[in-house]
């Protein structure tokens, strides 16, 4: 509340943003120098997972709808960004000359195109949510994810089932770095947080709590549900674009139902409806997936058991709908003083 009603102080924000960018840049150098490639990769995946989880949580946690086909949005973003990047790079280089600047511009334009197309898919999938509740909607999202995968499997200009590797024999350019992943993590977390703690966010929660009452309060439930889907799909699209530029190519199997399940695990572990919980869940999944790499065939058995046990024992997840924030921590430490 007190934060929301504060008048913005633009100069402070500017300084703060510059500081964050500088810190990111320094951290980027530190990560590149300090960790072997294997660890760097885990860190990047953790960041991408945080984006996926925080975005998905907007639908599944905050709005109380249920998407279990989120890998579909990620796939749209990944393919769109990869394709755009490949086609755009020569033009941008011609304009700016080869180098970090051109790469950065190409990369972020490609990511934005990916986000845009994924958002379009989000509108498409969000529309049935006007008429469907809960589990029905879940099935539609699942069906959507499958249809997307089948389409990419058959799209010749995107390499069909072999996958898309761009036009050069070296494969897709690996633009994705610590700096850009966490730049987007910060942007997306801030955007989602600001949406959640606003009149829009309250309305989304109202839809989750009681849709009939929400309608009786003149809340435009239809528009808001589509908005949640659109925004969430866009974030998955960014994550897809970041993912695509981590390796030489992307395949339709990278976006199977398993990937959607990974995302569900992320938000369930952390607590549906909590941004910080989702972020924690994203890191958790990245780390456990790596730890279980040798146990590949047991991984999903363990995941499945984890899901069931969480549902039976603590269905609200680690944090429930609570958030970890400075204000909450301060409250916690102040509490003992109260009579």
């Amino acid at each position: 509340m007190d934060i929301a009603t504060q008048k913005p102080r633009w100069l402070l924000r500017l300084v703060l943003s510059a500081g964050v960018l500088a810190a990111l840049y320094a951290a980027n150098l530190g990560v590149q120098a300090g960790f072997i490639e294997y660890v760097q990769r885990i860190i990047l995946i953790a960041g991408i997972n945080v984006i996926l989880a925080v975005g998905l949580n907007l639908i599944n946690g905050t709005t109380g709808q249920f998407s279990i086909g989120h890998a579909g949005f990620m796939a749209v973003g990944a393919y769109a960004a990869a394709f755009t990047g490949v086609k755009l790079a020569p033009h941008v280089t011609a304009l700016l000359g080869a180098g970090t600047l051109a790469d950065g511009v190409t990369f972020n334009l490609a990511l934005l195109v990916g986000a845009l197309l994924a958002a379009g898919a989000g509108v498409l999938v969000g529309l049935p949510s006007l008429r469907l509740k809960g589990d029905y909607l879940a099935i539609v999202t699942l069906g959507f994810g499958e249809i997307i995968r089948i389409l990419f499997n058959n799209a010749q200009f995107l390499g069909a089932a072999t996958g898309y590797f761009g036009d050069s024999p070296a494969g897709l350019p690996t633009y994705t770095s610590f700096f850009w992943v966490f730049f987007w993590v910060i942007v997306i977390v801030v955007v989602v947080r600001n949406v959640t703690f606003s009149q829009t966010g309250r309305s989304l929660i109202a839809i989750r709590e009681d849709e009939i009452a929400a309608e009786a309060m003149a809340i435009p439930t239809t528009r808001l549900k589509v908005l949640a889907f659109t925004l969430s799909a866009a974030t998955a699209g960014i994550a897809g674009g970041l993912f695509a530029h981590m390796q030489s190519g992307i395949r339709p199997e990278d976006f199977k139902f398993d990937k959607s399940i990974d995302m569900i695990v992320m938000i369930i572990v952390g607590g549906l409806g909590s941004i910080s919980g989702a972020a924690l869940g994203g890191v958790f999944v990245a780390v456990t997936l790596e730890l279980m790499r040798d146990l590949q065939q047991y991984r999903l058995v363990l995941y499945a058991l984890l899901l069931i046990v969480i549902m039976l024992v603590r269905p609200e997840g680690l944090l429930g709908t609570r958030e970890i924030s400075l204000a909450a921590l301060r409250r916690r430490f102040r509490q003992p003083e109260r009579p």
């Binding site: 599944n60 109380g64 249920f66 279990i68 529309l127 049935p128 008429r131 469907l132 809960g134 589990d135 029905y136 879940a138 099935i139 539609v140 699942l142 069906g143 959507f144 499958e146 249809i147 089948i150 389409l151 499997n153 058959n154 009939i212 139902f257 399940i261 569900i264 369930i268 549906l272 065939q297 047991y298 999903l300 058995v301 995941y303 499945a304 058991l305 984890l306 899901l307 069931i308 549902m311 039976l312 269905p315």
Partner: protein, 305 residues
């Protein structure tokens, strides 16, 4: 024209398998309002139990001797596999679903996804991920009529599926447990007050639905020649779409939906492209949910305000 009839025959036989599986989805949804995601895996487990039972009863020996597997033993395989799957269904209900029955609706749904994943991956560990050739518990015989080929397997699929569906209909309409199921699907609390044993009835629902899925699994194995641990994912999904198409919670609807999905799939594969045989199901799903979410035979239920 004969090509068309061939597709129709294949579509109806595939569709009756979908119908058998769809019945389990629709019965459980009718009572618990739960999409039993693990149902496709029960179907897969049914196929595997049929596989092992047939091998235990010596199907290889008959095959090596060049003789057909006796029909009586084939029926034993069917019945025992159905019983084993019924047990699995009851176990799933008791261990995973009953504890979360009164929780908010997303909790059982996520639990169901968990059970489904667990069974898939447990099956990959137990049976290896490789596809297996299904034992010929029915030796294939071909009949040709006017350019259309009908195998005895396709006929058996019809007959078994039809017999089970008629049996289910009679059970639900005529027996005490069947009446209890219908009562539960209308109002669980009222049914409990009328002295119906809710837990026992739900258990029976899972047992019957799972047994039907197992029958579907064996027929599927015979029809498609191979089985694998992930066979339940797509087939289960299609059967669920069939249940939604017919009107979820509605038993005749599941049968109609199953047959329609089977036909749509075969005709798409035959006349459009085999690549899109899976996509058509999801397209039907999206269209039906947007245009008539209560399904073809379903009724609209209004939430009480």
């Amino acid at each position: 024209m004969s090509e068309f009839f061939q597709q129709i025959i294949n579509g109806l036989s595939l569709g009756s398998i979908y119908a058998l599986i769809a019945l389990g989805y629709t019965m459980v949804y009718g009572i618990l309002k739960l999409i039993n995601f693990a149902h496709g895996e029960v179907f897969m487990m049914g196929a595997y139990s049929g596989y092992y039972l047939a091998s235990w009863l010596g199907v290889e020996r008959y095959q090596a001797a060049g003789r057909g597997f006796p029909l009586g033993l084939a029926l034993v395989v069917l019945v025992l596999a159905m019983a084993a799957s019924a047990l699995l269904g009851v176990l799933i209900e008791a261990l995973a679903y009953r504890p979360v029955r009164s929780a908010p609706r997303l909790t059982p749904l996520i639990t169901a996804i968990g059970v489904s994943l667990f069974l898939q991956n447990a099956a990959m560990l137990l049976f290896t991920p490789n596809p297996r050739a299904y034992p010929p518990i029915l030796r294939e015989l071909r009949f040709a009529a006017g350019g259309v080929i009908v195998t005895n397997i396709k006929l058996a699929i019809f007959v078994v599926a039809l017999a089970l569906m008629v049996g289910l209909h009679l059970f639900v309409q005529r027996t005490w447990t069947g009446r209890a199921m219908r009562a539960l699907s209308m109002n669980i609390d009222a049914a409990r007050l009328m002295g119906i044993d809710v837990n026992a009835t739900i258990r029976a629902t899972f047992a019957i639905g799972s047994a039907l899925a197992a029958a579907g699994g064996i027929l599927f194995g015979l029809d498609q020649i191979t089985i694998n641990p992930l066979m339940g994912v797509l087939t289960g999904l299609k059967a669920f779409v069939a249940a939604v198409l017919g009107g979820i919670g509605n038993i005749p609807g599941a049968v109609v939906g199953g047959l329609l999905i089977g036909l749509a799939e075969q005709l798409t594969a035959g006349y459009l492209s085999p690549d899109y045989r899976d996509a058509i199901t999801f397209l039907i799903l999206v269209v039906i949910l947007v245009l008539k979410p209560e399904g073809l035979l379903g009724v609209v239920r209004q939430e009480k305000v």
